[in-house]
Symmetry: C2
Subunit: 294 residues, 2 copies
């Protein structure tokens, strides 16, 4: 049996996968202290109940993982968890693998998408992350930092302060947080029905779709930053296709079309019209991709 | 016998290599029309004269190569040369491989440098190129455009027009041409002994080393652009080491130290102090690296 583990703070989703599909799923409710113990017991119990063998367990981790060592999961508050030790104890005969969740999502899209030799996924959530895939393998890099494109310098116009300590990072404008920041910054410059105090990134994107002037202005700025970022990624590591995922990508075609417009404006001539697509995997993305890490 | 072919306009350098060293070398003088015919005959004749078999022939090409098809060599004026066809005719039993010269140079540095899992080389010549190596293999990308980092948007201050059609490209400021452009742009702002009409990039870098105010100002701008570019490459594809090569890198330590200063200023916190080194291979780089493409 092939298990894909999507690690969250207190809820861990585990998918039993076949043929790149989740055929069964279960949830482990746990605490920070017992997280991996509870997850592994859950997998062991599931296999026992279903008379299956545990062949593969893949972990998608919200944090930094290098060679199955979880260096840090900042939002959960765990550091230095050695997954090899954990797995050896609970399923000594299974193959295990792990990567961070942005890499896992990128692999998932590559696996379910049209066959490509390489792809780069950009995940637009609270922050901006990414993942680079060559021949259906995650390229994580020696510091597991490939895909930390949220911290690419891109915004020389505002140079907003980023949480990471730098200024002008892509995620200061292209994340959900960045979208609200831009909408607040330009609030008095455009006519809008948005509420300055309560608007969310989704509200801003919805407003753009409905023709709201502020929404459209922010959409344009976000798309320009992303189009430029993709043009830079393309010359750094040339790929067949870019995937745009994460919560912000729910904005859909209006965002995708605007990103494409700016990508083609800024792309090197040999790389115009590289495919840019919305991510296809929904909620199951984390589990499927984790299940196929190895 | 393992041959590395460094293709130039009218002179092609061929190295016979063993243990990552050039043990013999010969030059083929040719014309655009007869280039690959002359090169292959040269290899065949050399093997015959030395009673050797032709096991491997690697080609470093100044242009775009995809799967042994030379799409374009702009400075030579040849397009659509199928190296498989050429090689089949002259050495049907040899393995052949090819890549562009910037990728070849990057591989060469990775092979002779301290062992690394991945590296990115930046070549500072008339333009700026690059190459990305993982596990001693060139990552060229599906459009053979990985490493076209000369066309990464970096210079929002001047946004000089680039030959490629875009503005603000890295090579508009960090190439030999870019260095002279910057020196001319700021010529009246700094005290200098440089001649506005005749200075070369080497003159500007030499002046910087001698404390010339204009030279130092230009060096600082070039290093800032490169440090920023490396910080962007690092989050896009995290590597163990960056190599700085090409003619401009002859400026040496003064340039390297300035690039490191700006890299560490702009790098994502998890990637500060990644190794940045001057390229070690001299004139033989093209031949050695081509010889070890496969």
């Amino acid at each position: 049996m092939r298990f894909g583990v999507d690690v969250g703070g207190t809820t861990v989703k585990i998918g039993v996968c076949e043929d790149y599909k989740v055929v069964d799923t279960f949830v482990v409710k746990t605490t920070k202290e017992n997280l991996f113990k509870d997850v592994c017991e859950g997998v062991v119990n599931y296999a026992k109940e279903h008379n299956g063998t545990i062949d593969f367990v893949g972990f998608g981790i919200p944090g930094v993982v290098i060679d199955n060592l979880i260096v840090n999961m900042p939002n959960i508050g765990l550091t230095n968890v050695n997954l090899n030790d954990v797995a050896k104890k609970y399923f000594p005969n299974a193959k295990i693998a792990s990567t961070n969740d942005a890499n896992a999502a990128a692999l998932g899209e590559a696996l379910v998408g049209e066959k490509s030799s390489s792809s780069y996924m950009v995940t637009l959530g609270t922050g901006v992350g990414g993942g680079y895939i060559i021949d259906d393998k995650v390229i994580a890099g020696p510091h597991a930092a490939t895909g930390e494109i949220g911290h690419m310098y891109i915004d020389s116009k505002h140079e907003f302060q980023c949480n990471c300590g730098l200024k002008g990072c892509l995620e200061t404008v292209a994340s959900a947080t960045g979208i609200v920041r831009l909408a607040k910054t330009y609030y008095n410059d455009y006519k809008t029905k948005l509420s300055k105090d309560t608007m969310s990134a989704k509200d801003v994107m919805d407003a753009a779709r409905e023709g709201d002037a502020l929404g459209l202005a922010v959409l344009d700025m976000v798309a320009e930053a992303l189009g430029r970022a993709l043009s830079i990624i393309a010359v750094t590591c040339d790929v067949d296709v870019f995937y745009i995922g994460g919560g912000v990508s729910a904005a859909g075609k209006v965002l995708l079309d605007a990103i494409k417009k700016y990508y083609n404006k800024y792309a090197f001539y040999a790389l115009k019209n590289v495919r840019i697509e919305l991510a296809k995997l929904g909620n199951a993305a984390g589990m499927i991709s984790a299940a196929y890490l190895g």
